[in-house]
Every structure is written in structure tokens, then in C-alpha cells.
Chain length 345, copies 4
């Protein structure tokens, strides 16, 4: 049994990790930390959990490092920088759900996150934890930078075609719609029920921090410098991200040929489903599951490709992919603990 | 592997059964019927399912009876009466999720359902499928009348005390609040999004068919003739039932003593959680799980007991209990396939 | 034009008052206070407002008293006690939306609110501001204790029959379901979107402070000492209260006779609608309006009356009734500024 | 008093029209038709209405033509074609909320609506009823083609800049998010509560009928042939459309200069609000009102303009604009009956 710890377990990604790992057959959760809830039973904070013994503990790394071999970090950025470094130096493996080790270029990191990166030598060792793109590297790495929720939906939506010559890579727009759990669990006026309910709004227009992350990965896959427009929106629902992606075509191409590229690219992937022609993803169909659903449409009138992707932001967009990465790192079957399909309704 | 069939699989209870049974380690789903969707892939109706081969078939009993040993029936009442009889006579086991075999007294059945019961000899063989009350009888029976969703929440809320002399059994009120999935999947104006959203309403005041079912079971447990007031309400949410139950006390009693009765009654039950003093159930904490959460409060000012119970109407209130009954009937561990805890959020 | 001020205007009742009063033909809003938002444009806090000049100001009574003749108080209890006294002594009229002047018996006030009442002589001058019951007294009073949201739904639901000899007044249960705006606008974890959405829960079971307020008014109307059981529930919706009220009958009575009592009692009331037999109130049908919808049902089986009432908690349950009280106090037509009907949907 | 009739009054736009017109000081609603509800009291279909006498009547034009001078048509397309022609020939004025007289080019109409247009001579007389663009023509016309909900949000979002040389008019993308009331009131499985709630999905990708309508108007304003990409999405909320609009820039331009263009263009408009820099529209802030809120952002990194617009789809997107058009046609103050601001929450 692999011993794992969750650092920062009182938020939604932490609690989803705990839920997934608690029923994973090869894993033993030995510690869960929370500064604000230290000393309190996990089941008193998340009454949906039934484990009667597990308590939140403070983030004391010297005592924690003995308790586990693999650490999931759901900590704020900056804190995560240091903690990853400490654990790596102690010979531990880390799956970091913060943004701290995702951006390879420390200058870009500083530009978007407003703090310097103090461990640039570790940035080189970190692997961007999107299994569909980096499965081999994940297997051998000790530091996994688990991807952001919006980037998962955007990158999986574009990966099969981003390097193709028929795309105008200067014209990519990612219009994303997210459930409110993406905003976290801490009380804040804009995310109170009466503010979010019965409303949709755009936020962080032109400035969202997932922009450089998406650009880095699309550039890396296509081997071209890619800039995108990314606009996130807040939806009146708990979970789910729907990304509608627009790209101009440089050449005429058949829809069926594009769809074949997608089917081919994802044919061995256990968690990506390319929908039949005429069907479009809905976040409800992936809610509670680790799936990413994709549709591809061609707008002949304007010479454009429209890709729609749907994920559960807390699963494929965070904790689900984190567990998938763990499965890959430790040689477990990649779908272990992740086979739940979405309930109806 | 046990071969099972789901008759009436295109509604919400059918699809939840299919979801639970598809990942059950000792079960093989060999057929799913649907009149309106016969010939169509299940995954085209429920795009959350990934089984690429399973198709809905018509309800042709002579061909179906060869395909399975256990049949789950999610059929309309009356249809279920006949189908249960056919399958029983063919030597099959049946878990009937309709109301047809729940009411033991055919006269009361006719009074509330407006049709006669044609198989009164089978009514005697049917066991009311609430494991917490009838576990032993379920184990030996071939016809399980799976309980209604509201009755599960009411009966589990009252069972530990209903026979006690300190209760005034003439004063029981069950005020229940249900998510909209309880109304089924067929299109109807009152359950359109814009009619249900941002609204709560009472319905079937004094006339809901779950009333005699609750009364029958409370009477049976307490060995007294019990009549209740039951009022259901429609909530703007997918899933969940919260029942607030009011009973007058005939004698003074301590809250801690009542709570002990609940803890004692449910101490070996895998799916009933009696909450700590001061906590109250929320449907979200049981959503997606097979749990029933309970709180007990004492109103000294009026000499009353107030019990609050929460279940997921599609799981503990329908398909979850159905699988639990199957586990009992076939000697599987009772929690097999039902260990999911509710996600946050 | 009547000059009015709103003290405590940055919450939901304050902003609804402002919305109603801004379009009232006989009223001029001359000041709106907010401690946390003092100096900020109202339209920057509530972007739905278009008045480009109105700013929140601090609660400085000596400067405020010159600005208006009538003051609406949306302040926390205790603060309201003092402010009402100050304004009354300054010869002003006050409509207090807090609970401070609702409870006539200072001992009961202290018992439920945990602070003493320092102005018991003013308690005697205050009138409970429910127009359907106290219209005449409201007309002549300078201190109106505007009723609580739950009490409005309960008292209007029971007023036509509470004094009748056929009721068992020892058995009254009020089971209320409220939208989340009732919890106010201040950030708090239990009212975050992801905590409230897709969930219903009971709260303050046996301890809610609206209990003695309902009891006081039902006792006063019936001239009997009445105790009730009151249980509030939190709903995943913005607005609306639905109260389901249960009372045992001491004598047999016809439903049509009870319904006549309701129709008679409310026949001249502009804001109470007694629904036709077979229809039940839905909060959506009163949302955005000042109406209270009522249904009356008889449960012959148990000898009980079941009354369902629906209001918009921010309008008939707070700011709407406050404006109605102002109309009465100043001799305006009672429905002025309150004629909006609920939109569909 | 102007006598008006509403043809097709049992849907959501019809009922909103009825609500607005019922409180309009210069208007008398003399007839409301509904085929499915003919003979039934309006207040039995929409229990939010209190008018105790108004009944739905069948669509019998010969009797209806005598009853009113102005007719609002909320009929299905094709039916509307004929009805407009009949009423026009009878010398009546018509505000048509269907799509039948919006598309000036009968060939394009036939291409997108799959039926021929039989009254091309009347198409020429019809004015596209968007007051911010066609106020003068509306004043003099007898046939108003009231705009589609999505087009209102798109056209108002682009009108101030669409003719400017700094825009690349080949790159316009309109990504719209709509509440479910846009789908109408008729029962249909995809719009059942449990299908819509907790989900967001794209629909009619590349094929939505509002596409040519938006293109026609943008082309007309800019005097260039414009094609756009338009993708609608279904949101889990009752009302509101948020459109996020993307356009590439051909030249460098300052954000403040673009914002000035918007402020200038809309400076006399009573219903369009250009938000301060840093604020973005939310549908909740316009819900229940006739406002359109707009924000303009500049993405320097990609040389793009991002405009976000929000309207209430049933008001500014349908019935509100229809009443605004009536006010213009008859010389009433343009905001009469439309001054409601959005409630909080």
C-alpha cells in the first residue's frame, strides 16, 4: 500500500482527492493537513465523509515527511514553491495542484503571478501532468505540476490539431464557462449564493493566469509560438467547465477528416470521448467522472473550426487527473479509482 | 456472475440502477428494456454511459426470462403487477421498484391507486424491501417490493421510536422536500426548468400515494394503527429528500435518551448515520451516496420530537436500496457497489 | 414629497427598499447609510441601480435627522433599539425592519435575543406592522415594528381561523422553507453558492427567534396563550418563503366553510390571494411582488387543517410591507409603488 | 387609451408583454389569444396575474381586428407571415416578435427558415425594431419586426465600432450564453429541470437562425458584407443573455478611445449602460429590467477587442423592446412602463 498525504485538504480539490484516494485499492491516506481546521475531524468539516478517525493536522513538514511517500499539494502558490522543494530534497514524490511548477519560464511565472520563482532548477525537473500529452515523462518524474482546470479543457480540445498546417494559429479563442467550485471554498461576497445564482458573468477578461499556461502547452505541442485569447465566465452551477474554442482555417478541409484526427489521437485514451457528429458536450454528462467530452464542428461559412470540450473541473480538471498521474507514476492501472461514470441526473 | 435485467431502464431510477450495477463486481447486466427507446444504444440516451454495445430492447418477457435470474422492475404500476407475476411463475427473482407489491392490503391499494390488485396471493409472498427493518425476510424472498422514496426517509426517521410509549402516535406529521428527479424523466410542463427553478411548492396535499405506505410500515413496527399527515414539496434541485418529522410526546423524556435509542437501533447499519447533537442533515451531504442522515431534536416548550432525515431519492430512496436488497438476497457483502460517499460539493 | 432615509442600506432589504422607494411617486430618498460602504456610490455596490449621484453615508444621526421625516431602519438588533429611541425623541417617524420593537414583553425579548431592552416605554408605543391585522393602529403610530419574514407567512396563514373554536391551538406546526436572501448579504461559508446549491437543510430547529414573534401575534389575535413548533429550512433559491402550517381540528368542519372564512377575512386586502380549491401556492408566483398566496386543505383522515402560504421574503416579508406601512401612515393609496406582479418565469 | 391585443399570449414573451402592458398608463389590453388555452382565464395559466376577468381567446382574426389598433404577435414563424399581412391590410399596426419580417432578403429567409416568404412587398415596409439603431423609422412604420434576443445583445455590443476602420470585420465571433426561458414554455425533454440544472451546453453550433439576422444588421450599419461565427449556449438559469464578442484589430488603438466611442454612441440612450473600466456585465444586474449593460476590453497581447453585453432575454431581448417600440410609434415617452430596475438579488 502506497502511503500518501494531502497537504491543504480543507478545500474542494483536497476533499475530492480524499474521496478518490479513500476508495483507491492501492493507497493509504496517512495525513491530511489544514491550517484553519487543524485538530478537527475531517468528518466534522465534510459531513459527507464517514471515516471516523482522520483528523486535519497542521502543515508541519518535518513530521509529515515521515508519514508518506507521495504528497498531493493543494496549497496556495508561493507556499507550494517551498513545500515542493522541501519534499523533493527529502526524496519524496510530489503532485502539486497549485500553479507553481506549471510555467517553465520563470520570467513568465513572475509576470503573471507577481512573485519570483525561487527554484528554477526544480522547474526543469517538473513535468506538466497532463497524461494524454506527457504520459511517459510523468512515469519517471518526482515532481508533477498538475494542470489548471481551464487548461485541461483547452489543451485536450486543441491537441489533435494544433500542430496541423491547416490551422491559423494566430486566431485561437478559448471562451470558457465554469461552475463556482472553481472559486474555492473560502467565504467571499462574489461567490455567495445570491450573487452567483441566476446569473452569468465574465471575469478576469484578458488577464486570467491560466492564459500563459495554455499558451505554453499549445506552443510546445505545435512547436510554434502561440498566443490565445482566453475569457473565463462564472456559471450558476457547482461543477463543470465547458470551453468553446474557435480557430480559423488556412485551408479548406473536410469535417470528417478533422474528426478522424481527433478519434485517432484519443483512440487509446481511457478518459477522452470524441462525440458523434451532431452531439455536443454538456457538463452534466461528465460531472462526477474523470471524462473529457469533445465535439468538433466546421463552420464552412467563415472557414472556422469550433471545438467544444467539457470536463468536471474538480476531477479531470484537478483531483481526478492528479490520481491518474499517481496511477501512472506507480504503475497502477491508469483508471484505478477513476471509473465512476456521471450519474443521471 | 449473477445475470440481471433492468425492465424500464430509460428513466432516472433505471439509469441509476444501470450505473450501480455496471460497476458491481458480482453482476452482469444482460438486458435493459425501454418501450420508447427500444433498439437505441443506451449510451445515446444517457451520454454519461460509456458501454458502447448495450441497447435498449422492448419488454418481451418470453425472450427476457431466459436472459437473467434477477429482474429489477422500474415499470409503471399495473404493468408491474403482471410482470412480477409472470417472472415469479417462471421461477425468477424480482426487485420491483414500483408501488405494486408494497401495500399488503389489496383494498387500501385499490383505494389509493384506483385499480384492483390481481395477485393478492403474491402480495403475501412479497417482502417490503427496507433492509434496516426486513433484512432477514429479504434474504429469503423472491419478490422484493422496493420502498418508495418518501417512505424510506419517513420510516428510517421514525423506526427507532415509533413503538415507544412516550410518543403520541396520533400526531405524526411528515413534511417532505424532494428534488425534481422524483418526478421522473418524461416531459411535462410543471417540471420544465423555468417552472421549477427559483420556486418551492407543495403538491398532492393530503392525497399522496406514499401516505398509506408509510402508515402500513409504521403500524407494523409499532403494532398500533397509525395514521399520519404527509405533505410533499417540490424543490429546485435534482436530487435529495429532506423529511422533517414532528411527533408529540406523551411523557417527559431526555434528548440524550432518545438519541441513544437511535444510535442503538442503527449501530450496525452501514447506511444510516445519526448526526451529533447540534448538526442537522443536508441533502447535499448524502447526494450520490446510499446514506440516510438523521438528527433528533427535542422541543421542550411544546413537548415534541423533531426528527430530520435526508436521503438521495434515487439511491437510498430507490436504486441504491434495490442494489442493497440484491446484495442481501444473494449473500454478497451488503455494501458492495454502494460505498461511494457524496462528493464536495 | 415625503423625505425618507434608509439606515443600513447595503443589505438586501435595504436595497429592495431603495428600489421600491426610488419609483414611489410621493417619496424622495434623501439619505442611505452604510458603515462598510460609506462614501461609495450606491450604484457601485448595486450595479442594478442607475441613480448616478446617491452615495452611502455613515450612520451619523445628528446629521441624518435633519434630512428626513420618515426613517426606515435595516440595522442589526440592539443598534436599532437605540436608533429608534433617538429618532422618536427627535420627533421623527420610524419603520424598524429589525426585531427590536416587535416583541412586546421585554423579558421574552431578552430570553430570545440575549440582551435587555432599554426602552420598554417605547415598546408600548410601537405597533406591529402587519397591515392586514393592525391597519388602524399603524395609521396613527410613529414607531412601526415591521414584521419578520417567517412571521408574515405564518400569521397571514392562520389569522382567519386562529380564534375559532374548532381549532386545537396546542398543535400548531409551522414548517417554513426560505430562499437564501433571508440570510443576508454578508459573506459566510454556509451561504456560499456551492454550499447552498443542490441542497436543502433545516436550521435553528426549536430555537429560531421568529418563534416568540409568531406566538405573540397568534396569541393576541386569538386571545389565548399559543405556543407553536416552528422549523425553518434553507432552500437553493434567491427569494421566497413557503410555509406549510398544520393544525388539528377539535370538531368536524367542512372545507368550504373554512375557505369562506379565509375569503371573507381577506376580501378587502389588496395583497392577499386565497387560491381556488386544488391550487397550491408556489413561491415563484409571488416572487417580485407584494402578494401573499394562501391555500387551505382539510385532511379528513387525521382531522387536520393544512394551510400553505407563499410570500417573497424581501417584499411582503420585509421591504414591501414596510412601504405598505408607509403608505398607510401617510394616507397614500395603500398599493402605491407596490403594484408589480410577479414575472413569468 | 390605445387598444392593444396580444396574439399568442400563453408563452413567456406573451406573458411578459401582458405584465408590462397591464401597468402601462396609456394602454388597454383588449384581447389575448392562445390556441391551447382558449376559453381559460389568463390568471389560471399564469397564477402570478391578478386580473380576474381576462380570458384567452382563439386566434380568430376577423373578430380580433375590431378589438385593437396595435397587435403584438408572439406566434410561430409562418403563422406570423400571414397574420401580419392580414392585419396590415386591415389598416392595423403590428409589432411582430417572430422572425418572419426580420430578414430583408427573402432568399436568406428561405435558406435558414426552410419556407418561402409570401409577402416580400411587406418585407420592404417592415422596420427592424431596434430603437437604438432605427428609432426614426420605427416612429413612422406600421410593421415592426421586433429583434431576436441574441441579435439585440450582439448588435448593441458592436454597433458603436462595427463601421470603424480599425476593426477586422472578418474575424467577429459572438459566443452567447442564454437562460432557459429562451427555449419557450412548451414541454420538451431537453428543457426539463433535471436536464438543464447543473449543466451548460452548446447547441445549434454553426446553424442557429439568429446568425443571418446579426449579419444583416452588422452589414447594414457598417455598409460592408459581414459574416460572423455565432455559438449559443444553454445556461441553468431562467433569464438573461450574456454575449462575449471577439474582434481582431487592424490597427493599434487605445482602450479609452474605444470606450469613448461607446459612451458617445449611447449617451442619449435610456436603456444602454456602458460600464466603468474594470467592471463586467452580469445578467443578474439586468434581470427584470429593460437595460443592456456593456463592457469593452482591449487585449493588447493579441490585438483584440472583447465586448461583453448582458440583457434580460425576455425584456430588452423581446417584450421590453416591443413596448419600447410601441412607445416610439405612438409618441409616448420612450421609457413609459419600462422603468423597473433589476431587484437585488
Amino acid at each position: 500500500m502506497l502511503k500518501v498525504a494531502i497537504l491543504g485538504g480543507s478545500g474542494y480539490t483536497g476533499s475530492e482527492l480524499l474521496r478518490l484516494l479513500s476508495s483507491h485499492p492501492h493507497v493509504n491516506v496517512t495525513a491530511v493537513t489544514s491550517e484553519r481546521s487543524a485538530g478537527i475531524l475531517v468528518s466534522d468539516v465534510f459531513i459527507n465523509f464517514r471515516n471516523p478517525h482522520l483528523k486535519f493536522e497542521p502543515l508541519d513538514l518535518s513530521s509529515l515527511e515521515k508519514k508518506a511517500d507521495l504528497f498531493f499539494l493543494c496549497l496556495p502558490h508561493k507556499t507550494s514553491q517551498d513545500t515542493v522543494a522541501f519534499l523533493y530534497n527529502a526524496g519524496k514524490k510530489v503532485i502539486d495542484l497549485s500553479a507553481d511548477y506549471r510555467i517553465k519560464d520563470a520570467k513568465i511565472y513572475q509576470e503573471w503571478y507577481n512573485i519570483p520563482h525561487l527554484y528554477t532548477h526544480l522547474l526543469k525537473k517538473a513535468v506538466y501532468g497532463l497524461p494524454e500529452i506527457y504520459r511517459k515523462q510523468i512515469k519517471k518524474s518526482s515532481i508533477i505540476a498538475n494542470p489548471g482546470c481551464y487548461p485541461v479543457s483547452a489543451i485536450l480540445g486543441l491537441a489533435p490539431v494544433i500542430g496541423k498546417s491547416f490551422l491559423d494559429t494566430n486566431s485561437i479563442i478559448v471562451d470558457s464557462k465554469s461552475g463556482t467550485s472553481g472559486a474555492g471554498r473560502s467565504p467571499a461576497q462574489p461567490f455567495m449564493f445570491c450573487e452567483v445564482n441566476e446569473s452569468v458573468r465574465a471575469y478576469s477578461v484578458t488577464t486570467h493566469r491560466h492564459t500563459p499556461e495554455i499558451e505554453q502547452e499549445l506552443s510546445s505541442i505545435s512547436r510554434r509560438k502561440i498566443k490565445i485569447i482566453f475569457t473565463p465566465h462564472l456559471m450558476p452551477m457547482d461543477r463543470g467547465i465547458l470551453s468553446t474554442i474557435y480557430v480559423r482555417l488556412k485551408k479548406d478541409i473536410k469535417l470528417s477528416d478533422v474528426q478522424k484526427l481527433y478519434q485517432e489521437f484519443y483512440k487509446s485514451e481511457p478518459f477522452v470521448r470524441v462525440l458523434k457528429n451532431g452531439l455536443y458536450p454538456a457538463t452534466k454528462a461528465v460531472k462526477g467522472s474523470n471524462f473529457c467530452d469533445l465535439s468538433v464542428s466546421l463552420d464552412r461559412r467563415t472557414g472556422s473550426l469550433i471545438i467544444v470540450s467539457a470536463i468536471d473541473n474538480l476531477l479531470k480538471g484537478a483531483s481526478g487527473t492528479a490520481v491518474q498521474n499517481m496511477n501512472i507514476m506507480y504503475g497502477f492501472d491508469e483508471t484505478t479509482g477513476l471509473t465512476a461514470s456521471s450519474p443521471s441526473p
